[in-house]
C-alpha cells in the first residue's frame, strides 16, 4: 500500500501547487500509515526531484522520454495509472491544474477508481473515504464518499498549505509501457500571454469592472498590479466589450481563481462574478456605491470614487514598500 502523487512540472520546474500536492499526499499517507511516492514525467533536475523529500515524498519515480516533454493526456494518464499499480497505491493525488483536468478522468476510468476533482481538504474520514469539495461554483460544499478500493484526488491549487521539513527523496527511473497509439495528440505551439503573471497562479490579483468607464483608464489598475506583483483580472462585460482581453475575465463563465488577495475595483459583485472569486482568502472592494452587493462578500471595503481612491492606494503601497525594504 502507498500513496502516489503526480508531481507536475512546467518546463522542468516545479511550482507551489506541486509542493501542495506532495504535502497533501503525505498527510493522507500518514492517515493511512503508509508512505508517499512522487511521479515526475519529464526533465527535472535530480536536485529538484530529491527536494520533494522535504514535502514528504520518500521516493521519486522519474519518467524521462522526449516524447513526453509536453502533455499527451492519454499517455500521461496511462503512466500515472501504471505507476499507481506498480506502487500498489490506494490513493492517487494530482493537482487540479489544467494538466490535472486533462488527466484526472482518464486515470480514474483506467483504474476504475472513484475521483474527487477539486478536493479542498484532507479526507475527513478514511473509512468510508470521505473528501470535501466545492459545488455549485463555490455556493456550496459537499462531502463525497469514494467507494472503490483505489481513489483519485485532484487537489485544488491554493487550497492546501505546503508542509515542509527535512528529507531527501530517493530517485528511481521508471520506464512505462508506452505505445504510439497513446500519443494521438501533439503540441504544435505554446502561446504565452507575454510577460504577465498568470492569473490562475497569482497570489495577488487586482481586478476592475465597468465602473472604470473605459479601457483608457486601466493605467492605474496596471500600475497598482505591478507595484504589488499582482495579476490583473476583469469582469465579464469589460471583456465582452473589448476593454480587456478575454483571458482576464473571471467568474462563473470565465476563470475561477483563489488568490490570497483579490482587489475588486468598480465591480458590482454579481453572483456570477462572485462564483469565480469567492475562494479568494481576502477580498478588498472599492466601489462608489455603498449598496454594491460586493461589500457583502468583502473583508475590507472602501466606498469612494475609484479615480480618487486608486491613485491614493498606489501612493500608500509605494510608501509601504519604501518603509519595509
Amino acid at each position: 500500500m502507498s500513496v502516489i502523487v503526480f508531481a507536475e512540472n512546467w518546463d522542468g520546474k516545479f511550482k507551489k501547487s506541486t509542493f501542495e500536492a506532495v504535502s497533501y499526499a503525505n498527510e493522507i499517507a500518514k492517515q493511512l500509515s503508509t508512505s508517499t511516492t512522487a511521479l515526475v514525467i519529464g526533465n527535472v533536475s535530480e536536485e529538484d526531484m530529491k527536494s520533494l523529500g522535504k514535502y514528504g515524498a520518500g521516493k521519486v519515480l522519474n519518467v524521462k522520454n522526449d516524447r513526453l516533454n509536453t502533455l499527451a493526456a492519454q499517455a500521461y494518464g496511462n503512466i500515472v495509472a501504471e505507476a499507481a499499480q506498480k506502487e500498489v497505491a490506494t490513493v492517487i493525488v494530482i493537482s487540479n491544474t489544467y494538466t490535472g483536468k486533462n488527466i484526472a478522468g482518464r486515470i480514474a476510468a483506467r483504474l476504475k477508481a472513484g475521483l474527487v476533482a477539486g478536493a479542498t481538504a484532507l479526507p475527513s474520514a478514511t473509512a468510508p473515504f470521505t473528501v470535501r469539495k466545492k459545488c455549485f461554483s463555490g455556493k456550496g460544499l459537499t462531502d463525497v464518499v469514494i467507494t472503490s478500493d483505489q481513489k483519485v484526488l485532484a487537489l485544488t491549487p491554493n487550497a492546501f498549505r505546503v508542509i515542509s521539513g527535512e528529507g531527501t527523496a530517493s530517485l528511481e527511473a521508471f520506464v512505462p509501457a508506452l505505445k504510439d497509439s497513446d500519443l494521438k495528440t501533439s503540441v504544435k505551439e505554446v502561446k504565452k500571454t507575454s510577460g504577465k503573471i498568470a492569473l490562475t497562479e497569482a497570489e495577488l490579483v487586482v481586478s476592475a469592472g465597468r465602473g472604470l468607464k473605459g479601457p483608457e483608464n486601466w493605467g492605474m489598475i496596471e500600475e497598482l498590479a505591478n507595484l504589488l506583483g499582482a495579476a490583473t483580472a476583469c469582469s465579464k462585460p469589460v471583456a465582452d466589450i473589448g476593454w480587456r482581453p478575454h483571458h482576464e475575465h473571471v467568474g462563473q463563465t470565465g476563470i475561477t481563481i483563489g488568490p490570497n488577495l483579490y482587489i475588486a475595483i468598480g465591480i458590482s459583485g454579481a453572483i456570477q462574478h462572485l462564483a469565480g472569486v469567492s475562494s479568494s482568502k481576502v477580498i478588498v472592494v472599492i466601489n462608489s456605491d455603498p449598496e454594491a452587493p460586493f461589500f457583502k462578500a468583502a473583508d475590507y471595503g472602501v466606498v469612494g470614487d475609484a479615480f480618487e481612491v486608486v491613485p491614493r492606494l498606489i501612493e500608500a503601497v509605494k510608501t509601504f514598500k519604501t518603509s519595509h525594504h
Binding site: 482518464r106 502561446k191 504577465k196
Partner: protein
Amino acid sequence: MKFLVCISQVPDTTTKITFIEGKALNAAGVQFIINPYDEIALTRALELKEALGGTVTVIHVGTVGTEPTIRKALAIGADEAIRINAEPEDAFFVASQIAEVVKKNPFDVILTGRESIDYNSGQVAGMLAEMLDLPSVCVVTKIDISGTEVTLEREIDGGKEVVSCSLPFVASAQKGLSEPRIPNMRGIMSARTKPLQITEPSSGTKLTASVSYAMPPAKQACKMVAADKMNELVELLHQEAKVI
C-alpha cells in the same frame, strides 16, 4: 461527420443555492438550464456541422423531468437527442452509460463542457475518452477540423497550447470556443418533432456519492476603511490580513 455533444442539466447561474438538511439540493423554485459550457460545446458542434456537413446528436443521462432541457438543445439546432433514463449520480456511471451508446454507434467528434456548474468536476470527458480508447483534449477554446486534421487550442496557466489531434476525439469546451445561440421560433417549433430516443441504462457501477452538503463558511462582516485612509488599508492588509 458525426458530432455527439454530452449535455447536463444544472441550476440557472443566478440560483440561490440552499440544501435540505444538508442532504440534498433544495430544488424548490430552481430553474434548470443546459450547463453553460455544454451549450458552448453544442454551438461549436453546430458551426462545424454547418461547415463540414453531418449531424449533431445530443446525449443526456437523466430522468424524464429533464426533457425540456433536451428540447432546448434541439431548439438551438441539434438534429436528434438520446436520453439515457437514469439519475446522473456519479461521473463514472454517466461516462460508462455514454460510452456504451458510442461503442454501438460511433461518432467522429465527442464534446462535453469543461465542467458542469453544479458539481464542478469536469470528469466525464476524460473518462469517456479512456473508456473508448480515444484521445482527449480538455478545456479548449478552439476546435478546427480540416480533412482528417484536427487543431485545438487548450488553456494552460498563462497562455494557450495549440494541439493537433486525429479523428475521432473527445474535447471539453471552455468559454471562448463559441458564442451560444438563442433559439429562434423556427428552432423551437421544429424541436418538438425532432427525434428523442430514450434508452434504458446498462448496468453500471457508481464509485462516488455526495453524502452531505454545507454552505460555505459565512464571511466576517466587511471592515470599512475611509476613502482618504489608504495607508490604513495597506497596514491592515499587511498586519492583520498578512497578504502583502
